[in-house]
């Protein structure tokens, strides 16, 4: 038994070595995927689809067609017994065997800022403690040496609290690399695809590659002495950041962001808007072993005209997410990638006079898809009017611990915080939803 594991581990390492020697991506990826499947310490990457503003669960993942709260949308059936989705998620409905839907999120915060912080870090703001967001925690756990950073945020959310995209006490090394400008608060200005670029990745105007090379060599040579005589975080961190930046500027790494390398038909399927193209970019980054990528879709704060807006947003989300699942599957990456779709809270089951739905943290939904989970499963249940959770109330720590376990990480692992106290990846009281884990 143990010999088998050793053998498979060795094989796995060989594959890794081969990949770092620069064999072409198309050749080694499927091989790596199958090798990793047998590895007992396997870790999964994560794509977080961040639904900024708080999506309406009633119109998406927990429809109530028989109740007046259900609104005008039909519910469509899926291959999973008991799983109905809002009518504007018809493509995703055909992927139900890849989804685990949590319908019993029960959280406390109805304020965008605090709720965003809560969902993204697993904690409520607590004095001086600088909690890192999930992406930074994962990047810290998965410090493998690659050309790309461990946490990349595509069209970073326009956040109500900047702490909600911070590496906190883990330090700037684990802060997200931002790609593209902030996701627009209103999806309607998002037409056309936008440009997904890392800021300042290209050389300054007038500086050719030769000169850039000269400058970097000069920098290395002339700062060597200072670095050597000032050992510590300051010089080491500076050197690491410049080295990572330099690697990121290399054509091979920078090409990860070049979506023109993808077939036009595939780009069309993802959707020619920033979010769709962002999901495609996420797949390219995951393929290059970035452990955590988030892509933001803003506009879910639908206090008025909810149904028109949700329909439009679903028309962005549905093709992007389902194409992403298809694409990952085709490339043998699906089982290695957890795709999470969540916002900071849900919305009121009741419909307000402006045909809108307001903030509602008491009973809402989050969906996990892809690897590490039991596809075709549903956790928890809300009542017939959607107002309360009737089964398996799920807290933020419960959710975070579940995600971490699906990624192959130990939620009890501790990091030293800025206030000199060890803090676990997820709150020790968390009760992970083991019933939906693979």
């Amino acid at each position: 038994m143990s010999a088998n594991i050793t053998a498979s581990r060795r094989h796995w390492l060989q594959v890794l070595t081969a990949s770092s020697l620069g064999l072409s991506a198309s050749g080694w990826l499927p091989q790596l995927a199958s090798a990793a499947a047998g590895d007992p310490t396997r870790k999964r990457s994560c794509i977080l689809l961040w639904m900024n503003g708080g999506p309406s669960q009633t119109d998406t993942f927990d429809p109530k067609p028989e109740h007046k709260n259900g609104g005008p949308f039909r519910a469509i059936s899926t291959a999973t017994p008991g799983l109905f989705l809002g009518e504007h998620l018809s493509k995703l409905a055909t992927h139900s065997e890849k989804l685990a839907v949590i319908r019993s999120m029960e959280t406390r915060e109805g304020d965008h800022g605090r709720a965003t912080f809560h969902l993204r870090t697993g904690n409520l703001p607590q004095g001086a403690i600088q909690f890192p967001v999930l992406g930074s925690l994962v990047a810290n756990e998965r410090q493998e040496s690659h050309d790309l950073p461990g946490f990349i945020s595509v069209t970073p959310p326009r956040l109500f609290a900047p702490e909600s995209i911070s590496a906190g006490f883990l330090g700037p090394r684990f802060a997200p690399l931002m790609v593209g400008r902030e996701a627009p608060a209103d999806y309607r200005v998002d037409a056309g695809g936008g440009v997904l670029k890392v800021q300042d990745l290209e050389r300054a105007r007038g500086i050719d590659s030769l000169r850039s090379q000269d400058r970097l060599e000069l920098l290395t040579e002339l700062t060597q002495d200072f670095t050597k005589t000032h050992p510590g975080l300051g010089t080491a961190g500076h050197r690491t950041a410049y080295e990572q930046a330099r690697r990121l500027m290399q054509p091979e790494a920078a090409s990860a962001f070049d979506l023109d390398q993808e077939p036009a038909a595939l780009r069309d399927r993802y959707g020619r808007h920033r979010f769709g193209q962002g999901c495609l970019l996420a797949r390219r980054l995951i393929e290059r072993k970035v452990p955590f990528v988030e892509v933001t879709l803003g506009g879910w704060d639908t206090h008025d005209d909810n149904f028109k807006k949700v329909a439009d947003l679903c028309n962005v989300l549905d093709p992007a997410w389902s194409t992403l699942l298809d694409d990952l599957s085709t490339r043998g990456l699906l089982d290695d990638t957890l795709v999470v779709c969540m916002g900071e809270f849900g919305r009121t089951p009741g419909i307000n006079p402006r045909q809108g739905r307001d903030h509602y943290p008491h009973a809402w939904s989050v969906v996990l898809s892809g690897g590490g989970i039991r596809g075709g499963s549903i956790a928890g249940r809300t009542g017939s009017d959607g107002m309360i959770v009737e089964d398996r109330p799920t807290s933020v720590p419960d959710l975070l611990a579940t995600i971490l376990l699906a990624l192959g990480l130990d939620p009890r692992k501790q990091n030293m915080s800025n206030v000199n106290r060890p803090i676990r990846l997820a709150d020790p009281d968390a009760k992970p939803l083991s019933e939906i884990l693979a």
Binding site: D200, T229, H230, G237, T240, M249
Partner: protein, 528 residues
Amino acid sequence: MSPLLRVTIGLALLMAVAESPLVLFAQTPSESELAAKIDQRIEEVLAAQSVTVSVPADDYEFLRRASLDLTGRIPTVREVHQFVADQRADKRAILINELLERPRHAMHLARVWRDWLVPELATIPEARYFQQGFEAWLAAKFRDRIGYDRIVQELLSVPLPGTKEQAEYVFRQADRPNALAFFAVKDAAPDKLAATSTRAFLSIQLECAQCHNHPFAEWRQEQFWNQAAFFSGIERQGDGLFAPLTEDPLRRSVSPGEGKPLVSPAYLFGRGEQLDPKDATRAAFAQWLTARDNPYFARSAVNRVWAMLFGVGLVHPIDDFHDQNPASHPEIFEELSQSFAAANYDFDFLFRVLCQTKAYQRTSVWTATEVPDHRLYARMATKGLSADQAWDSLSLAVGWTTTTKDRDADASDRLTGRRRFLEQFTPRSWPADPETSISQALSLMNGGLLSRVTHIDQSRTLIAATETPGWTDDERLTALYLASLGRPPQQLELEKLRQYLSRSSDHAGRYEDIFWMLLNSSEFRLNH
């Protein structure tokens, strides 16, 4: 022993020490005596651990460090020349006094305290509108040499304009000095105001007790709400940071949550004083907080100033005093705190004492293989720069001056540049962690700002260095080094740079490259 009993005894001991300074110290030592005592104690600890100390910093290193620490930016080329040429034996002490006299010192101190008190001002977009007025308020206090205890009293008991019937907006002119930012940005919320006050002024973290009893220090949940109750009359009339604030002096209790009984104000510790029902609660809280016999008040401030200068607090993290987080040098801590209180809570007193210690004046260079714990102070720590320090130093190094031209388009460009820079480089802590992110590196390597200021047509420094007639290459290089790093290049560096210049016919371009290298170097980006 019960936790409560333990903390009571602990506090009693602290109080005893605080109340009887005459027994411990026959007279208040002079500044230089105090500095000598600090050095003596630090050296005893170093000797006990057989750690050797590094040599004193040379004039260049000392000037750059003191300028950054006391005025928030690097020295000018002229200041470097003057200081190095100065032959007086006590020129370092003279420099310290001069730096403390500058208006920039008050502004720097104001910005540091801004980050400690209301860090949101630098990070939340809407809160930035309050920044200028709040900094100006603090800077005016520091410039007028108002004691720290009085500043805190004024801040906490600042009158809130208007009444519920006639609410007044929080500010009409963003740049007029005012302290209301503190209340507005904390959402006028009693719990936030109490938590910030005890953390900022006493280094006691009560926030964890907001939801449950504190796991490490022995603060109970009720005590958290007792403190919040001092702020219970404050109310915001409307939504958003700019909505009017009012105070109902008759409301003297706070609700910890729906359905829970109201909690009244009660001092966190002390000799059992009761709050007089006639007293204004905030003013009473401020009096108790800043009282001479509150042992935490002076210590908290001393620890912060120490961390500003040494990169790490005597107690660290700096805002978390409790039993299990002892001071590295308790005797120093105690004596400094008492002297600070005796000096009427004058920060400049602390700066004068600490900056003249040998510990502060040691070089940051370390060549031995084993790096000692920096809480031993064997060498000067390498500190990060705050976004303000980095921006002001960069502006100075490239030769931007504040002249009438500031009103032109270029200046407004620069303001946008400053805003973006501050957003990108604002650290999440003070003293700033000396860390660099990939985005920061990319921005300095390739970004528009750096490429503009290292363009031969755009930087006065570069123009002066390259176009002054009659200079040799060595003199031009020296000018660039002095402007950016505050020191001349060493022989070995000159040799490498001469070679670099000779490898291309584009002389101006090569100078641009060298200036780019200097501004991207860790030596420029760090305070060492």
